[in-house]
Symmetry: C2
Subunit: 350 residues, 2 copies
Amino acid sequence: MGKKQRQNKGITLSDVAARAGVSAITVSRVLRRPQMVSPDLRERVKVAVEALNYLPDPAASALASKRTNVVGVLIPSVTNQVFSAVLRGIYDATEETSLDIQLANTRYRIAEEEKLIRIFRSQKPAGMIVAGIDQSEAGKSMLQDLDCPVVQIMEISPDPIDMMVGFSHFEAARTATDHLVRNGYRRVGFLGARMDPRTQRRYEGYRAALAAAGLDHQGLAITTVAASSVTLGGQMLGDLLSQCPDADAVFCNNDDIALGALFECQRRRLGVPDAFGIAGFNDIEMMACTYPSLTSVRTHRHEMGRRAVSLIIDALDGKRPEHPVVDLGFQLMERDSTRRSRRLDIGVRS
Amino acid sequence: MGKKQRQNKGITLSDVAARAGVSAITVSRVLRRPQMVSPDLRERVKVAVEALNYLPDPAASALASKRTNVVGVLIPSVTNQVFSAVLRGIYDATEETSLDIQLANTRYRIAEEEKLIRIFRSQKPAGMIVAGIDQSEAGKSMLQDLDCPVVQIMEISPDPIDMMVGFSHFEAARTATDHLVRNGYRRVGFLGARMDPRTQRRYEGYRAALAAAGLDHQGLAITTVAASSVTLGGQMLGDLLSQCPDADAVFCNNDDIALGALFECQRRRLGVPDAFGIAGFNDIEMMACTYPSLTSVRTHRHEMGRRAVSLIIDALDGKRPEHPVVDLGFQLMERDSTRRSRRLDIGVRS
DNA sequence: GTGATGAATGATAGCGCAATCATTTGTCAA
DNA sequence: TTGACAAATGATTGCGCTATCATTCATCAC
């Protein structure tokens, strides 16, 4: 195997201190609050740290100081593209900081989430980022008592546990559905998988848009608790069309479903957008380059991760945001899948 | 912030011990090696742990025992669907264990990876999982000296640092390309993004298959170091067709590229599979339900994550695998995108 | 010159746990 | 009964760091 054993393992603060000719605590200070130490000592210590290739032991540090650099992140799933984009934002934002990310999956289960909050609490995290606003009561109360900044992401609501970065799923869905209506679609369906609380709020936005336009949604909503997938999107479109053969568009609760619906339309020779309109949700990269390109609601997932981290960093510095709830908004990306060449009916509001 | 401070924080081993009427070390033993303690004490301690809702302090434990439950995971990217599937396998496999996953992104950079290995080393991990076999020399040597199980994933090679779970990218690509050739395609292109070492090996598999069939690949390979995306796949297909208008198929170095190529074919009214064949790599879920469905090489990503963890768990139990390199293989998923209805030429080997 | 003040540095203790060794208790053969 | 031995439990110590308090020294007003 390797050449020598035990490399710089076992290099401790005192080793560095000895080499620099100072006390251990001074080394600790140079590493954590350099401005407390005079420039010349600071320099000497830094040289010794380099020379010995010293790295502090995070466990010892945590034990002595009763806190860690760990930011706990609770998301439902790592494979969901939406959350992995958020996650990347989080990692990007912690890049040059001393913060460590500790990730855990709730698997869309509130009980699991509560368990994980309890575990994180025992680690004295520097901050917490949790997806959504639907924690259990016990979970919320633990997060509140945590004595570290807590950011809820993905959604906004008037009563954050501490801080929030997100957007209104209701408004986003309403906007997308309204767009379909304005483009002349009259029998607009809804395809919803997973049906977690976020999806529920999108469903409500969809219904609100139809109601505002005086349109009915009876039988036009196909939902399932099954996990979302492209294949499922195709199946659900099939279900919709057998249930409501006159459906002329769908708002899909996410882009996977919308993609599946598109492929299913291709398979059935159902022309998109003229015979059938499709709108998705999240605007994953692919939506812009499908054929036809797919309308979707762009959500600022990467930015959401970044902002969550910078809120935590600021809070650790004592800088509280003016308003604890940050609404990142959304953007309707109008593309070919809802761009009817001929408006099939008359009373379209401009 | 919250209402009250300091909740059950501060419950320590000795608190539990006092309540159970035993010594602290006995509580520690009940929690870590229950069979060392007599059944009745064990029971009493467990009751006390429950009653006080005790959770051990991982920092103290790490400091005292000079090791952690942390398995360090080094992957190039969290947003890449391939790695997020592996990651899910890893999380799934650690579900009911005491292991914690600590994830870090190398961003496809060897130097970054080396830095991260150094950081992990200072945390005395219980195990390490690293993607690929192309670590820097220093990185490899650190991993070797780490005194914990190390699993390289995604690839196989004759000289693992410690253990390995993966498959041959060369063989997988050769098989896919050979499949195109056998189905009558003669001017088979290659679309490669990212061009990291894994992609390079796939490229070599592609060339080997063409060479074996006596076919040329001059000008048929389009590669870029840019990150892979569906949009890019469409662009690269365009590049290929302007460079080699007679190309009649592509092997794409991953599924994103293949999807982009498919959409581009639809846009150009280039019939798939008759006029043009497409094969992808990884077989993400969507490939089976596109129109036409896309041929791809299925790789066992989730299983790779699971196996990596179980190799580590076994190694921690002292159980070394018979062979340190586990080849999970791959599976060619033949679908419509390479299923020519009429074979356009004669000399096809059966 | 004196004492007050503050900046820079050091000495000491202890965070909560597990390694180590010591002690107690029970069991069994001779 | 005795001693040997193993199983169960406990006492002590220290992991590497930082909080806290103490000390030193320079500076300055008076």
